[in-house]
């Protein structure tokens, strides 16, 4: 791809990127993290929902900016690390890559379609879990197992929830 075509892509991306109310970029990730911190206390089965990851995927897909996507992912990931028992950076690295890849996909495909969103969430959820497992073994040298069947089921569940969540988040867009 030539430099000129990159410029054209950037212009087109700017034209197609969604705009949100400024407070949404802060409030939605915080609410997602709060949900993960607070709700499983009373409804333990909801601890399998990765709302922060869905929020990262959504903003990265809809903003169609790789830089913004990776920064959103890094910040949300570091916040998750701060509230977990992990060293800082584990979720940060995973979510940075998720945000970057989601934004890259958002540049090339139409992410308004529910099926595309479902598929993207499934793939990126699986990717994040796999990458986290690799980092746990490679960087922390901790023995852990990767159950791909369980991860696939969780990815499917999160994808379904994600489609409804994205539909709700679409209402916060200013360009609609």
């Amino acid at each position: 791809m030539s430099y000129a075509s990159d410029r054209e892509l950037a212009v087109d991306r700017t034209a197609r990127s969604s705009r949100f109310k400024p407070w949404a970029f802060f409030a939605i990730p915080i609410l997602a993290i709060l949900f993960q911190v607070y709700v499983p206390l009373f409804l333990p089965f909801l601890s399998y929902l990765e709302l922060p990851l869905m929020v990262v995927i959504y903003f990265a897909l809809m903003r169609r900016s790789q830089v913004r996507g990776l920064f959103i992912g890094a910040l949300v990931g570091l916040a998750q690390d701060s509230l977990s028992n992990n060293p800082l950076g584990m979720f940060g690295i995973c979510n940075t890559l998720v945000g970057y890849f989601a934004a890259s996909f958002g540049l090339k495909i139409d992410v308004e379609q529910p099926f595309v969103r479902l598929l993207m969430t499934f793939l990126l959820f699986f990717f994040q879990k796999f990458l986290y497992w690799v980092l746990t073994r490679a960087l922390l040298a901790q023995p852990s197992l990767f159950d791909w069947r369980e991860t696939a089921i969780l990815a499917a569940l999160n994808s379904v929830v994600g489609v409804f969540l994205y539909h709700f988040l679409d209402r916060l867009r200013e360009d609609r």
Partner: protein
């Protein structure tokens, strides 16, 4: 060059952000250090909101439940729960005191001992990420909580404080793979290290295969780790079997069986004695006496079955031949000879208990020596076809 950077601006930014986080990770992992600033920011930002949400939730639900459905029952229930928790702790303490007093050697420690100093806290949130087991409590450094302190409930240990922030603390649960605590079994006093497995159960490591641990046996804290004082319940053994070098013991943590909402942080621990094991009383069925009147009557026995019966019968016959009454051995009396040959024609007594006084020669007086009559030979029977029915003359015992 500028064009190149502009062209790969996104990718360069990605590499820089990833590299920065890798450096951050390496700094923490290699140096075993933490970056408290970011964690303090995140926890300080999140836990007050979680506390506020919890207050609103409990307030709203409490309002409806108190005034529309249960009125005073809820507050009474809460009060009774608190009272029950206090009584459980008091009961545990008194049990320990009683056990110590029974041994009578620890009166000094009894008088010197005082209960652990604790502070109550409430769980207001869980940690992020599915693998680790972390909760947040609403007491932090301002309340005297410090990193490493133990967290318990009256039912058992919950975890330990991983980090203390001004208004909240992060608690590592006993089920987290990174958790470890010294424990001791109640019955056999086997020491080990309790470790989390990442799910509902824990494992006790470093117990040799030769040591004995029973199913259902309870583990208590041993106090070796200097985090938990000795004598706090941990949980019961749910599975135990020999491993390659050490036993594999699985324990169900008692405190987490019902998700705790309120916990106690041990500010100053005081060791207690592990309560003595009391074996459960086994109920054995005892039927009523089927024939109480027949209990005094002698029982009749069947034909001789065992070797013991035959030996006893032989000795009875020897006793009759020797005119010896078992159990009566006056001084000066000749001792009985068990090596004599029995007269095969001697009548066999009827099976059943023998009454020593029934029949037989007269009882010799004490000191009297009975000599066998060797001059009188037995009269030969006139070719009897069958052995004589009457008692045969005893053969003289060869001496």
């Amino acid at each position: 060059m500028e064009n190149l950077i502009n062209r790969y601006r996104n990718f360069t930014t990605l590499i820089l952000v990833l590299f920065a986080q890798l450096i951050l990770l390496a700094y923490q992992v290699k140096g075993n250090k933490d970056v408290p600033l970011l964690r303090v920011w995140a926890v300080t930002a999140v836990t007050p909101i979680a506390t506020l949400v919890e207050d609103v939730r409990s307030g709203v639900s409490g309002f409806f439940e108190n005034y529309f459905t249960l009125r005073d029952v809820r507050s009474e229930n809460k009060q009774m729960r608190e009272e029950m928790g206090r009584l459980k702790l008091e009961n545990q303490f008194l049990k320990t005191e009683l056990s110590t007093a029974e041994r009578a050697k620890a009166l000094a420690s009894f008088s010197a001992r005082s209960p652990s100093k604790m502070v109550a806290a409430r769980i207001v949130g869980t940690g992020t990420g599915g693998n680790n087991k972390v909760v947040f409590i609403d007491r932090g450094a301002n309340a005297g909580v410090q990193k490493g302190m133990g967290v318990v409930t009256p039912d058992g240990i919950v975890g330990n404080v991983l980090a203390a922030y001004p208004t909240a603390s992060k608690v590592l649960l006993v089920t987290d793979p990174g958790f470890a605590a010294g424990v001791i079994s109640q019955k056999n006093h086997v020491r080990g290290v309790l470790k989390g497995l990442g799910y509902g159960r824990c494992r006790v490591d470093y117990v040799e295969n030769e040591q004995k641990v029973d199913m259902g046996e309870e583990f208590f804290t041993s106090g070796d780790d200097r985090v938990y004082p000795q004598g706090i319940p941990v949980g019961k053994v749910t599975a135990v079997h020999d491993g390659t070098s050490v036993k594999e013991i699985y324990v169900s943590p008692a405190a987490l069986e019902q998700s705790p909402e309120d916990v106690l942080v041990i500010l100053e621990g005081v060791n207690q004695i592990v309560p003595e094991y009391q074996a459960p009383a086994k109920q054995v069925y005892l039927g009523p006496d089927p024939n109480p009147q027949a209990a005094d009557t002698p029982t009749t026995t069947g034909p001789l079955q065992t070797t013991a019966d035959k030996v006893m019968e032989k000795y009875k016959q020897i006793g009759e031949q020797e005119n010896h009454k078992y159990g009566v051995n006056p001084s000066g009396a000749r001792p009985i000879d068990f090596n004599i040959k029995l007269n095969p024609n001697a009548p066999k007594p009827a099976p059943g208990p023998v009454k020593p006084d029934a029949g037989g020669p007269p009882k010799p007086a004490p000191g009297e020596v009975i000599e066998p009559d060797v001059t009188e030979a037995p009269k030969p029977a006139p070719k009897p076809a069958t052995p004589p029915a009457g008692p045969a003359s005893p053969a003289p015992a060869p001496r």
